[in-house]
Amino acid sequence: MNHFPHGWGRPRDDIYGPYDHTYLSHSQSSGPNQHTQQPAVTGTSVLAAKFKDGVVIAADNLASYGSLARFTDVKRLHKFGEHAILGIGGDVSDMQYISRILNELDIDENYGSTGNTLNAKNLHTYLSKVMYARRTKINPLWNAILVAGLDGVGRPFLSSVDLLGTTFSSPTLATGYGSYLAQPLLRKLAETEDEVANVTREKAEKAVREALKVLFYRDARSLDRFSIAVVTKQGIELMEDEQLEGQSWAFADRIKGYGTQVN
């Protein structure tokens, strides 16, 4: 009889031999568990604005590795069901993980008998809990995410969640550099939730495209090729290979080496 409670219920060493700790997954690499402490390949800002019948959301197609423009055709807007779409900034591998778990969720939901797909509001609630749970494990998904679409009763919905699980919503939203450069421009569309009723799709889309252009001028980790989506009751219109129109580099006319003046 082993008199030490530590040994009770465990395989007996004299019969099975001492426990082989190498079977524990975390001890395969020597040292402690490694968690994401900083992002590697990253996407920059995501912008979005509500209008009276829906939401516009946009993000450029660049994935940077530090200051290197590493991948120039990465799609950072992800559709979910018929009336929801999310734009993801931050770590790209974490983005792809999020995209995968949401696809699995979507497939699971479609097996249900009611035929109800999750709306944008449900998606945001789910995502915020995933993000908060991961930050609580000190193993965050290093992203800032905007969820756009329609809520349960068909009203425009726009909300955000970040790597800490912090959530907030507003008539217009922008992550990353966009929160400094684009959000002040977008706020002119609608300062309050009531003013959203006066915003048309055309006005919202134009404002988002203009804000994206300002970001391209001043955010060094941005690109002039982008994706933009419009969600309304009719569904999601997603354009994934847009080009910024009407750039003006007049403010940089004495600066050589980039923009239109190469030499």
């Binding site: 908060y132 912090t166 959530t167 550099y177 929160s179 955010d219």
Partner: protein, 265 residues
């Protein structure tokens, strides 16, 4: 408290430092880059208990550093309502500090209050709910919810009840309490106007013989005005407070909400 780790994360997500903590510099030569699970989202709340009512109020700005995340993110919640909108709720919770922890705490307490009703067939008392909230906070003693909570409602005698908490669950029943970014601005005003501190009965004596005014229960309309005054003062002098004022008033008839705009600068 020493939870906040200022760290510049990536260009596209905000560094989550707190004004209160300032920026701590690490050892010279070595720059350690670490994930901090906390942020300070600013804002202030306050609560005042009356004879047959309790008012809990909070501003609706949510900020991070110098950026305003949104002008409308409620910090004051109905607890134990019948549906999403909180109808039928009798208890009010307000949380400042880290917004994500605040929401998590709210949802935990809300579901706990609902479970109580399903299991016992009656509403939980404010006193029991207050004790339970302390237990929830203490259960995370070594990885705390970075939130300062106040809880209010009507007690079993029909009197306004208000409880305030620290991060790890030590709590106390009080008449009034200001919490959050502008607590230091609002609390002395409340001492003076609710508990009538430093106020004396005129002509009741000279020097040491002066009689202190006794604090008496205030009228609800008077308390509402005090709350508005407290917040319009705080808005002037604290950058993290503003945008909107949300007041939840618990009486025997349930909870009523008043929203008034505050300065947005």
């Amino acid at each position: 408290m020493a939870f906040i780790h200022p760290s510049s994360l990536l260009p596209s997500s905000n560094p989550s430092y707190s004004f209160r903590e300032g920026i701590k510099s690490s050892a010279p030569g070595i720059q350690e880059h670490r994930f901090s699970p906390y942020a300070d989202n600013g804002g202030s709340t306050l609560g005042i208990a009356g004879k047959d009512f309790t008012i809990i109020a909070g501003d609706t700005r949510q900020s991070s550093g110098y950026s305003i995340n949104t002008r409308y993110a409620p910090k004051v919640f109905r607890i134990g309502g019948d549906d999403d909108s909180g109808t039928g709720a009798k208890i009010i919770l307000a949380v400042t500090g880290f917004a994500a922890d605040g929401n998590a705490l709210k949802e935990r307490l809300d579901s706990m209050v609902k479970m109580y009703k399903y299991q016992h067939g009656k509403d939980i008392s404010v006193k029991a709910c207050a004790q339970r909230l302390a237990t929830i906070l203490y259960s995370k003693r070594f990885f705390p919810y970075y939130t300062q909570a106040i809880l209010g409602g009507i007690d079993e005698e029909g009197v306004g009840a208000l409880y305030s908490y620290d991060y790890v669950g030590s709590y106390e029943r009080e008449q009034c309490r200001a919490v959050g970014a502008a607590a230091s601005l609002i609390m002395p005003f409340l001492d003076n106007q609710v508990n009538l501190k430093n106020q004396y009965v005129p002509g009741s004596g000279v020097g040491h013989d002066l009689k202190a005014k006794a604090a008496e229960p205030l009228e609800q309309s008077h308390v509402e005005q005090l709350v508005r005054d407290a917040f319009s003062g705080a808005v002037e002098r604290h950058i993290e407070v503003g945008d909107g004022l949300q007041m939840l008033i618990a009486t025997k008839d349930g909870i009523r909400e008043i929203y008034t705009p505050l300065k947005r600068d």
